[in-house]
């Protein structure tokens, strides 16, 4: 049995160190309730025409199907503007669901933030 954190979320944006790449630090749980909050926060970044996003999932203990839906939707929105999203530092719990959904076929994921940021240059 695995433990999961309370249904709350914190979202912070910062420069990823490379111009034009925004790092999104998410803390908590991405479920039906918090997905709405995350969606609103991400909409702000998209309005600012930031289309290269690294989602730092190091401190995310759970992503529900609604959360994955949001990531897919974000993926389409950024790629429409020649951007992309890259998932970084997924916890085992999140990685298991990511694998179950076979999302590695759609979204790039990396073990570390640095790798995710560097991947945009290639």
């Amino acid at each position: 049995m695995s433990a999961r954190k309370d249904g709350s979320i914190q979202v912070e944006f910062r420069e990823a160190g490379v111009p034009g790449i925004t790092r999104v630090d998410i803390t908590g749980v991405v479920d039906t309730g918090t997905t709405l909050i995350l969606d609103e926060r991400l909409a702000v970044v998209l309005r600012e025409q930031q289309y290269k996003l690294v989602l730092n999932l190091e401190k995310v203990s759970y992503v529900s199907s609604a959360g994955w839906g949001l990531f897919i939707s974000l993926l389409h929105k950024t790629r429409e503007h020649n951007g992309d999203i890259k998932l970084a530092a997924m916890t085992n719990e999140v990685k298991n669901v990511f694998n179950l959904l076979a999302f590695s076929n759609l979204i790039y994921s990396y073990k570390t933030l640095e790798e995710a940021v560097a991947a945009f240059d290639r």
Binding site: M1, A3, T32, S64, S65, S73, L74, A102
Partner: protein, 506 residues
């Protein structure tokens, strides 16, 4: 319910009440002040008239003494005539000590006996006296009497002058009339002033009344216009704030009501789509579990016969919640049912379903599906997984346990138009042994949480099924799973749908 009689309320105006009170107060004040002033004035005038009367009587007494003694009638008549020239003089006469009239303004009285006014008496004091009596012709008259005294001791007669009070009354009455006129003007002014004042003071109240009526009628956008910053102004501000908060609260209540209705609708859709009973197949028993979360999700399960020996079984989870999820689930269910007979393997069925759905789904929506086909006589189970939790095979007798996964895993249905999905989707086939138990479920089962925020997990599911022993049939296993989930979660609300199919080999 108790019947309360309608109370008749008479509409009374604050303006009228206020004006009446002002009138009453002003009127009473004017009346009291005027009465006091005029009575003072009347007394002063009376004193003045009396003093003048006494002076004239003294004049007559002094100048008339000699003619009186010598009985010089001409002189006396002249003297009386002089006195009578005074305004308000009603009569003037001189009487000798025998009570005979010696001189009078009315010549016919001369020589006759003097008739004293009622209540009068012979004069004794040298300073004289005055008293008021009612004259038959002239009304109230002040009689001024002075004795004629010779050499300081001997009284030889009396002088009587009658001074009318009519001037005093006229003056006082005129003053009354003037005061009344002024009072009338003042009262009218007061009335008008009180009306204006009360109207001015009450205007905010009528604005508040208007506001309250508007709110009562449901116009929650109504705001009372800004007022002066006094108590009523503050009341208006409070009132406006209350209205805004009421509006927000009402909208929130309506929104919640709408969401509640939507969830009820989603729940109804879901309930009608689930099969009413489990299938019957020789050598197998089936059980199903379905528990909708409060926020209805899009889980579902289904059974359908593909031919006489092959049974299709589906467990699926639509991403998202509420009506959109329920509708997508309804659409997917119908499609799957209608295409299932056209293909021989589960993977082909899911490929077709993916082709049909992927173009139509909103960005980010998808369905995880486990589709399995049971060949009843051959006791084989062929299945394909599209992003879904693998089924679990346990055997309480042999204690073998196996996760019915597919490697590599495949994407859920609806995300990819075909290229990736069709490359990844594959069929797996297992042959079932006696007492084998297969459970096909959605993530609501394994992700059910307890108070410590731990998940039930695949291990919990396996332990539950193995713990029931060989004798338990599918229905008993479902009952046990349901019971253990309830016990595990305790008071923690279920935040995802729970759906499971259990298939047991005899």
């Amino acid at each position: 319910m108790e019947n309360t009689p309608k109370r008749e309320t008479r509409k009374s105006s604050v303006k009228v009440e206020f004006a009446l009170w002002v009138m009453l107060f002003l009127g009473a004040t004017i009346l009291v002040l005027t009465s006091f002033t005029l009575s003072q004035e009347r007394e002063a005038l009376t004193r003045e008239v009396t003093r003048r009367g006494l002076a004239l009587a003294q004049y007559v007494a002094t100048h008339g003494q000699d003619p009186f003694l010598t009985n010089d009638k001409l002189m006396l008549a002249t003297l009386v005539g002089d006195v009578m020239k005074n305004e308000d003089m009603v009569y003037a006469l001189m009487v000798d000590r025998n009570g005979r009239v010696v001189a009078s303004d009315k010549s016919d009285l001369i020589g006759s006996a003097y008739v004293r006014p009622p209540g009068d008496y012979p004069l004794d004091r040298p300073s004289g006296r005055t008293f008021t009596w009612r004259h038959p012709l002239a009304g109230l008259v002040i009689d001024v009497g002075i004795p004629l005294i010779l050499q300081g001791t001997t009284k030889i007669g009396e002088v009587h002058l009658g001074v009318s009070r009519s001037t005093i009354d006229r003056v006082v009455n005129q003053a009354w009339r003037q005061v009344m006129l002024v009072a009338f003007i003042f009262l009218s002014g007061g009335l008008l002033g009180s009306f204006v004042l009360v109207t001015f003071v009450l205007r905010p109240v009528s604005e508040l009344t208007k506001g309250a009526q508007a709110i009562g009628a449901g116009y929650l956008n109504y705001q009372i216009p800004a007022m002066r910053n006094n108590e009523l102004g503050q009341l208006a501000v409070t009132f406006n704030r209350m209205t805004r908060e009421l509006k927000i609260a009402t909208e929130r209540a309506l929104e919640q009501e709408r969401i509640k209705k939507e969830l009820q609708l989603a729940h109804q859709i879901q309930q009608t789509l689930l099969p009413k009973q489990t299938p019957e197949a020789a050598g197998f028993s089936f059980g199903t579990l379905y528990r909708a979360a409060k926020e209805v999700g899009g889980d579902y399960y289904d059974f359908f016969w593909l031919d006489k020996t092959k049974l299709g079984m589906v467990v699926a989870d639509v991403c998202g919640k509420g009506v959109p999820a329920a509708m997508l689930m309804s659409m997917a269910r119908s499609m799957l049912k209608s295409i299932a007979r056209n293909y021989t393997t589960p993977s082909e069925v899911l490929k077709e379903l993916n082709r049909l759905l992927s173009g139509d789904l909103k960005n980010g929506m998808f369905i995880t599906v486990l589709y399995a086909v049971l060949d009843v006589p051959k006791k084989t189970l062929t299945y394909a997984l599209a992003g879904h939790n693998p089924g679990l095979l346990v055997n309480p007798r042999s204690h073998k346990a196996k996760s019915l996964s597919c490697e590599p895993p495949c994407l859920p249905v609806g995300l990819d138009r075909g290229a990736i999905f069709e490359k990844l989707i594959q069929d797996k086939k297992i042959t079932l042994a006696p007492h084998d138990v297969v459970v096909l479920y959605t993530d609501g089962v394994t992700e059910a949480m307890n108070a410590e925020r731990e998940e039930f997990g695949e291990s919990g599911l396996q332990a539950c099924l193995e713990g029931q022993g060989v004798e338990a049939d599918a229905a008993a296993l479902i009952q046990a799973l349901d019971g253990q989930l309830t016990k595990f979660c305790g008071d923690i609300p279920q935040n995802d749908d729970i759906a499971a199919i259990i298939l047991q080999v005899d």
